[in-house]
Symmetry: C2
């Protein structure tokens, strides 16, 4: 690095430190010391020619990518863009205000945020997804950088990301580990022991570059250069830094995490910083311009499920993604080492270049899918419904990146039988309904499953599809439509005494119950509630007006499930609602035994209806 | 190992193989091949004098512990206890039946199950908790063994457990890694490359012992002996094994995962096994008898919160565990590197020997807490409410171990303000309500928080306490009682036109709204719903009978929250229910701004009441 360049970068660093201290002081909160430790790491990346980025087009396909996994260093993140002249100082001073897009941790409301972070240990997985996209899908030369805190290396998700990055030989991925020794409440497990990090990262198959002086711009810049030369593996820069660097009373001190300076402290701190012109700005390197093919969309073949035959909805899912793979050329499929169960393997056979085996590491799988989504893909991510609980934190964060991801959970409910409760998704509807802005679909046959998959491919945002293990009778003709937010009334008459609302396997129990109830002279309406979120409120309200009793039947726990969802939209209607669901401790057994035990079988539905109808008759008397 | 002993153990192994093949054939499902690979690893442990265990007293404090992290190898697990003469062959043949305690994956219904497993990557953390308990709490010489699959080493939680086991120098913990090369759908990432595992495990600070012949009883037994000699670190046996070992057409073959043999295959397989007497049984070594002190329980001091003053409920939580620490001598506290925020640090100051810093690794924290719970402790586990989502899989599994664990999530809701959505627990009530058999408490002031904490300490099972960041006015006298399943009616009259139901920060908004509504001539009942699960159905029904309108107000998303919980218990009541909750995209801002934005502030509650009351008046006309 030339002397002049070094002097300029040092001045830029000083300005950035000033901005960090000022904006957190104004906000009265934030993490200045965690930002100060990584100033040089980021200044060297941005302003010494490494990071190639078109400020006018943040979503440009061949921009390099930067993810702040340590999202609490947002003051540094925003200050960097200020130093690059992408935002101005006044914007920066709105930090953390309600009317500002500069949130406490970066979200997609700020246009230069590559991915929302703030829950630690998620950024590297997102970077893995972006790097996989570059290397295997878009085949573009952009590079992905992830700034990591040392505290967050305790999260297991980091090591999931490490192992997968190694497996996929992501030489276009660079981690920047800011080893500042201090966590929130005190020292990290490893302190400044860089060699421990190095040993671990190397054991996970990465190239490592130790930067003993993590505030030395020349050393750092040389490390970035060295990283580019590694052609077969991802690289981790492991840098010795000081929390609070640049301010004597903050440097390497405990007790300053997440604390803004007061006015007096701020003045003292500012006085210690090198002087630099207020209006000094740095320039980013430009990305290589690439031609990017417009993907062709061919029409899929028609599906073929003869009415009355049986098929598992998970199989229909596998068929659907395979059938639609050509039409939706942006579709990618990720699976957690259970593709022969979820049927994602069908897609793999047809489109191996767009299928990614993510092994038994669900947190990283979701993070990587998010990375691909943010690079314009439509990821379908599958595992057992139960095991998405492993990645709930990653899933709940997706909306704040504005992401478009589709989750598919197979083997839902007690329906799986003998494998027992560890494998039964019984909380998945509750979990996915609780994700901000989500869609939850739960089809009951192969036709509606395929239609739901296409709906998911067409819509933007976060959607979940619940599939079941066993074969279920085909209920619908291939021309039937299944819009998101709809439902299907499968039986009704003018004399309905009860409405049965169900989805998935229990819908078939409801249909069987309705048939037998008819024999007993009780007329039952049956609604296929394939769209659990959003709900078809109109159809439910009509049923509530027309029948005095409504029974929901679901292979899921009560809390957050279909019953509660239905109750909440009918709370103003004068109808009795009875929820049948999984409410005794689930166990191994046959599907029939378990449905009977949980009171969600056809015979138990009949009992419930008869008890309630009798009760109603008695009450009327 | 003597020749005679070796011959006997080999015969025991042959019998175990026979039982594995037979019981899965009878069940028509299960994982025989995953069981066969670890037969020798477990036979050498059990029957060559290493594992010390009193069969008559499975919960004996000084028994060695064995956790099958690869829970799908349950046929082997059950067969081992059969070989030890703890259960008989007829029991074994009930495997996976509805009327059997031998479930598809081990649960607490089987008396020799140390911890329920089946969701992969959880067992090592549980073992960490048991080993921590032995070394630091009970100070007992028992050793903890964890059988691990190679596929599940892809789970990040394993590496969380590894790093913490190293940090706490758990020389009483032994991992047994069954490297059989094959996962569910094909080869693992590392195949039979033992040196990769060794390098990684060593990099995480463990002692490693490679066992190149993982079916050689002498080699394995020597490895267990060697593990005992390591005094400063945990030990991992890394064994080269073959999936399906012992049956020529299964050995090291793909396509056999999770498949039981049919009758013809079974016969062929059985013919290949060494003959052995049917009634051959092995003996376990006895545990050392220890005297175990009865812990004294002293009465805690009284709390002191003057009515009308303010305190954060998280602070009251910290005060409560510290005040009650002497009375509940089994209480242990674990925190995820945020103890200065959750206030768990108060307990640490008073009882450092019962406090465990678990760093930013929530999955392992919950697993370790489960391990301690299963060794008779009452763990209180704390982090931000949002970050428990990281450990949802571990949490949902707790009931199947019959565990007694208390979770405490601080910084719940938009109330935290400027830090933004990544730090806001907005799905935590939904998540914890969805856990089988759980209790969910959400107090609104310091007094009720302390009372809730004592209720949690007194009850058995899984309970969650939600605390908030900011200070809230003291509402209750120290003698007020807060039973689980109760509620408090804070305002009521004979002319109530509306009932406001809230908890936590929004209860204070509801109280403020009620006060101002009174000025406008509208009388509002206010219910403090501190027990969110179970609900005080009686009080809610009374309100539903006595007021025509009920409004729930919560700092949480709609799905699975308080509104839905209340709707579901009032579904048969003729009352209009209106739910105010977080329903626009949350962001950074002040608490006041965010409550206003989300419609859960006092003024927005008033607006909602007035609109509804006006609406009702109009409708009546």
């Amino acid at each position: 690095m030339e002397t002049q360049q070094k002097a300029t970068l040092q001045q830029l660093a000083a300005n950035i430190r000033r901005w960090i201290l000022n904006c957190t002081n104004r906000a009265g909160s934030g993490h200045p010391t965690s930002s100060l430790s990584a100033v040089e790491l980021m200044v060297a990346l941005f302003f010494d020619g490494h990071f190639r980025y078109d400020l006018d087009e943040p979503r440009y396909v061949n921009n390099d990518r930067l993810i702040f996994s340590k999202g609490h260093a947002s003051p540094l993140f925003y200050a960097l863009w200020c130093a690059a002249d992408a935002i101005d100082e006044d914007d920066l001073m709105t930090y953390r205000r309600f009317d500002s897009v500069l949130e406490g941790h970066p979200t997609s409301r700020f246009r230069y945020t590559e991915a929302a972070t703030g829950s630690l240990g998620q950024g590297l997985s997102i970077g893995v997804g972006m790097a996989m996209n570059a290397k295997y899908v878009d085949e573009l030369p952009y590079r992905t950088y992830v700034l990591l805190g040392d505290s967050e290396m305790a999260e297991g998700s980091q090591w999931e990301a490490m192992e997968i990055a190694c497996q996929y030989r992501l030489n276009n991925l660079v981690g920047v580990l800011d080893v500042n020794r201090l966590g929130q409440r005190g020292p990290t497990m490893q302190g400044h022991n860089l060699s421990v990090y190095q040993k671990r990262v190397e054991a996970f198959g990465w190239n490592t570059i130790v930067v003993p002086e993590g505030h030395n711009l020349c050393e750092i810049s040389a490390a970035y250069e060295q990283a580019k030369a590694c052609e077969d593996r991802p690289t981790m820069l492991i840098a010795h830094t000081l929390k609070g660097k640049g301010v004597s009373f903050l440097e390497d001190q405990e007790g300053w995490h997440g604390k803004a300076l007061d006015d007096e402290q701020l003045q003292r701190a500012l006085n210690e910083l090198e002087e630099a012109p207020d209006d000094l700005r740095g320039a980013l390197a430009k990305p290589q311009k690439v031609s990017f093919p417009v993907l062709s969309r061919s029409q899929p073949e028609e599906m073929n499920y003869p009415m009355g035959e049986k098929e598992a909805t998970r199989t229909a899912y596998g068929n659907a993604i395979t059938r639609l793979g050509d039409k939706y050329a942006n579709m990618v499929v990720l699976d957690g080492e259970v593709s022969n169960s979820t049927r994602a393997e069908y897609f793999q056979e047809q489109f191996p270049e767009r299928y990614f085996e993510m092994y038994i590491a669900e947190q990283n799988m979701v993070g990587a899918a998010l990375g691909m989504a943010l690079r314009g893909k439509t990821p379908f991510v599958s595992t057992f419904a139960a095991f998405f609980s492993r990645a709930f934190d990653q899933i709940r964060m997706c909306p704040y990146s504005g992401a478009n991801i589709k989750f598919v959970g197979s083997h839902a409910g007690t329906e799986i039988g003998q494998d027992g409760p560890s494998q039964m998704g019984l909380e998945d509807i509750a979990m996915f309904r609780a994700v901000f802005g989500s869609i939850v679909l739960y089809p009951s046959d192969a036709v509606s499953t395929e239609k739901c998959v296409e709906q998911m491919a067409n819509c933007s945002g976060i959607a979940y599809l619940r599939t079941t293990r066993g074969k279920l009778p085909i209920l619908y003709d291939k021309d039937e439509r299944f819009p998101i937010g709809g439902s299907k009334v499968l039986r009704q008459s003018g004399e309905d005494q009860v409405t049965l609302v169900a989805a998935g396997a229990t819908l078939h129990e409801a249909l069987a119950a309705a048939e037998q109830l008819e024999v007993s002279g009780i007329s039952a309406r049956v609604i296929d509630l394939y769209s659990v979120k959003p709900l078809d409120v109109e159809t439910l309200r009509t049923a509530a007006r027309e029948t005095p009793l409504l029974i929901t039947i679901e292979d899921h726990f009560a809390a957050g499930g279909i019953g509660e969802a239905v109750c909440s939209v009918l709370s103003e209607m004068p109808i009795r609602i009875h929820s049948l669901c999984v409410d005794v401790r689930p166990r191994s057994g046959t599907t029939e035994q378990l449905f009977e035990q949980q009171g969600i079988s056809a015979s138990k539905i009949m009992e419930a209806v008869k008890a309630s109808v009798t009760l109603a008759t008695h009450t009327e008397k």
